[in-house]
Amino acid sequence: MADPIIRLSGIVKTYGEGPTAFQALKGIDLDIMPGDFIAVMGASGSGKSTTMNILGCLDVPTRGQYLFRGHRVEVLTRDQRALLRRKYFGFVFQGFNLLSRTSALENVELPLVYRGDPKAERHDAAMAALDKVGLKDWWDHTPAELSGGQQQRVAIARAIVTRPQVLLADEPTGNLDSERSVEIMQLLSDLNRNSGITVLMVTHEPDMAEFAHTLVHFKDGLVERIEANPKPLGLAGSDA
């Protein structure tokens, strides 16, 4: 069997100090295999978002070890983590987090701008990513001119434009109605299968979790159980 792309061992995250300190994560052990589609579930405050932030190198653990492709992440500097994010990770947030007054195309281009790609390449890659999420014709619209579902698809295009290995989605459907949610999940499912991107998604909606291959349940800062989803949704739909 292949090595895991991500291995968390004994991850602890404590906020604050002294008697008011709050332990959000109490020792997480988790292996994530490349190409998996994982839904992280759990009640509010169970530590699922904190784990996602640590996985995405947006935050650092208080204790424990985080191996990404066999390399330790928790010892890296801020800038090294930024470069790691730039190269291997794509992010999708519940609140979309697009730059306002900035066209869809320029939002999608932004990670490539920081990577230093030449203008023509940037444009082509961003248009290709917008095409993948079905918004090619909307490239010159700003977030204010797009619906919530469209904004989230722009955010997904921005996340995949760098061809990341891991896509982290924190409640990607939290702000959308059920029809748009299914579209977004279908999109994530297709990206996982066709582009081989490992997808990690936090959700508290069981319907959305049905698209994942593996379900990780969190409770009180610990992994409660991991279960495989024998019949993930979205596989049939994508062929149509």
């Binding site: 701008v113 230093g116 921005r158």
Partner: protein
């Protein structure tokens, strides 16, 4: 990385026109106010100084009476005599020339036009004591002075009103029933620093004025030119002693004449205008400070607003340094644009206001540089430091910022 940053910074400025405009506005107003006020203040000082120097800085004016503010009761002290002039010119060291002034006023008439003016009887020494070049014509000859001939040199105001600006030399006009040949026209001096039109004057030989108008040998004012190598105070003291003796003032009695030192006036006036310039500069500096606080506010507010943007940029892989540099470039570009706009507006304001204030246009490089530098520093400092705080946040905290 630099190219990328510039690209992003300029795009951000273009995209937030109102925010950028408000940021720039504070700098524009601050710079324009400081540069305009200080430049006009300096121009006014320069104008006053040039008027004073045209007046002549080394002149003692001697008049009968105890000077301003005193006097009052008692008989009017006698005027001076021509002998007094001779005595001062010959006995006091450091005196270059002494010019008499015997004054009268009257209406000048020429071909139906008439103009009420002052006639000043004097000698050629008048033009030695205080430099006042002629626009055309000539001054008195010794023969004309000696004979008290009815010849006159007119100021520009007379030419404007009596001759409608046309040729005056060689003509003859009448004043107080006396006809007078115009032999010269004085160059324009303009308004005096302390009121009155200096060009509204007719100058005639002193003997002509005495004989034809005043009817006596008196001289109401003496103008004494002082050699630059002598101290005015020393010459003034010598003249005082001489005049007390000649006017038979003894013991503890007060002088019945007063000596007015134009150098003192010029120093006082220069001091006053310098003080005014300082006050104006202080007001301007305060407006620059207020402008600076405006910039600071806009920058602080916009960085707070933009914390989420900073979080997004960090999350998608920007290094904190890149985000910071972008904000720094934005601040520099905006501050410099604002500074330049302020300088341009200041030059326009100076060009418009200078003629209205009757001062000559002037460009003060120093104040331009100082105002620009201060506003640029304010813009950059307040654009940079809040951004540094935001960029040092954990990306996730910055993203959650509302």
């Amino acid at each position: 990385m630099i190219g990328t940053t510039f690209f992003l910074a300029l795009r951000s400025i273009r995209r937030h026109v109102l925010r950028s405009f408000l940021t720039v506005l504070g700098i524009v107003i601050g710079v324009a106010a400081v540069v305009t006020m200080v430049t006009l203040g300096n121009a006014t000082t320069a104008a006053v100084q040039s008027q004073i120097s045209a007046l002549g800085t080394n002149i003692l004016q001697i008049r009968p009476g105890q000077g301003f503010g005193r006097g009052g009761g008692g008989p009017r002290p006698p005027d001076f005599e021509m002998d007094d002039l001779e005595a001062i010119a010959q006995q006091i060291a450091g005196v270059t020339a002494v010019a008499p002034q015997a004054q009268t006023s009257g209406t000048a008439i020429y071909e139906g036009a008439n103009w009420s003016t002052t006639v000043n009887g004097t000698t050629d020494a008048y033009f030695t004591v205080q430099p006042w070049p002629l626009a055309e014509g000539r001054t008195f000859t010794p023969a004309e002075e000696q004979a008290g001939k009815s010849v006159c040199i007119i100021g520009n105001t007379i030419r404007q009103n009596l001759y409608r600006g046309g040729g005056a030399v060689g003509t003859r006009f009448r004043i107080k029933g006396v006809s007078c040949d115009v032999i010269g026209v004085l160059s324009t001096r303009g308004q005096a620093g302390f009121g009155g039109d200096q060009d509204d004057i007719v100058i005639m030989p002193v003997k002509a004025v005495q004989r034809r108008f005043t009817g006596n040998q008196n001289v109401s004012v003496m103008l004494v030119g002082v050699d630059q190598n002598y101290a005015n105070e020393q010459v003034q003291a010598s003249i005082t002693d001489l005049l007390r003796e000649r006017r038979k003032i003894t013991g503890g009695k007060d002088d019945d004449f007063n000596i007015f030192d134009t150098k003192q006036i010029s120093e006082t006036l220069t001091g006053t205008t310098t003080l005014l310039t300082r006050i104006v500069a202080t007001v301007a500096a305060i407006s620059l400070l207020v402008g600076g606080i405006g910039i600071m506010n806009i920058m602080l507010v916009s960085v707070t607003e933009r914390t989420r943007e900073i979080g997004i940029r960090l999350a998608i892989g920007a290094v904190a340094r890149e985000v910071l540099l972008q904000f720094l470039v934005e601040a520099i570009v905006l501050s410099c644009l604002g500074g330049l706009a302020g300088l341009v507006i200041a030059q326009l304001a100076i060009a418009v206001l200078s003629p209205l204030m009757q001062v000559s246009w002037m460009f003060d490089a120093q104040i331009n540089v100082i105002a620009f530098a201060i506003s640029a520093i304010i813009g950059v400092v307040f654009g940079y430091f809040p951004a540094r705080r935001a960029a040092s946040l954990n990306p996730i905290d910055a993203l959650r910022h509302e």
